[in-house]
Amino acid sequence: MAAIFASRCSRVGRSLFGGLSNSSPGLFTTLHEMTCKNMFSQQQRTFIQMRTVLKVVDNSGAKKVMCIQALKGKKGARLGDTIIASVKEAHPNGKVKKGKVVYGVVVRAAMQKGRCDGSEVKFDDNAVVLVDKQGQPIGTRVFGPVPHELRQKKHVKILTLAGHIA
């Protein structure tokens, strides 16, 4: 994606600054950097949907999972929702192996979510804790901050395992 965008930018740059003198390369690079920087820093965060890759923040053995089904809502999953995912990367001797289809609870999402007091909360990345069909976590530890909204979703076990509650 980034490579395609960069190549497009460069083509536009050549067409725009083709007839200029030797001062053009510097001008072009600054313009290109600015455009790319704005594009990627102000990226629109959206729902967790099919093919979204999430980080696994427990010690179940998986590292990365890809969402294959959001179990709530038309558009996709958000903070606190349950998803079905496929394990893409895993530790060699973990409980969960690569290619296994698992359930997971979204404990961190980059898309902001409204709170009951009217404010909004958002996180750095998209992260998930793997659970079984009954909603009990597979791992025994949860890393990083998790939101207190999980209490409303009846995931109290995840909250007790978590180090920080935001």
Binding site: S41, Q42, R108, Q112, R115, D117, G118, S119, E120, V121, K122, F123, D124, D125, G144, P145, P147, G163, H164, A166
Partner: protein, 130 residues
């Protein structure tokens, strides 16, 4: 409900306002408005930021000047005296106006109601007090 402070501009965040960003090291950044949030995302330094110059100009403490302080201390009792005299004048004017209005339209006065209290009731009240 708690009143938080904005991480970027240190203004008060009232309930229902702003956005909260939680970093992966569990540090919470609260922003009062999208202006502060965007400046944070652009990695701007809040101390150097010129867009908040206007906010910074207000409530700037004056540098101590002995003559100025002396004049202010002398002026305080004078100002108090003026304030009191103005209030008195205001009340007096209002009373004059009220009297004039009542003279023009006596129906505005409240009717005097006489309440008759029977002997028994007064005795009962006295007994209850004892």
């Amino acid at each position: 409900m708690r009143l938080e402070k904005c991480w970027f501009c240190s203004s008060t965040i009232y309930p229902g306002h702003g956005i909260q960003f939680v970093r992966n090291d569990a540090k919470i950044f609260r922003f009062c408005r999208s202006k502060c949030h965007k400046n944070f995302k652009m990695k701007r330094n809040p101390r150097k930021d010129s867009t908040f110059e206007f906010e910074r100009k207000r409530n700037r403490p004056e540098r101590y000047d002995r003559n100025l302080a002396e004049n202010v201390l002398k002026a305080i009792p004078k100002i108090d005296k003026i304030r009191v005299s103005r209030e008195e004048r205001h009340h007096k004017n209002n009373l004059v106006k009220a009297r004039y209005v009542l003279q023009q339209d006596p129906s505005l006065t409240l009717p005097k109601i006489k309440v008759k209290v029977s002997q028994q009731q007064s005795e009962e009240n006295h007994a209850m007090e004892e």
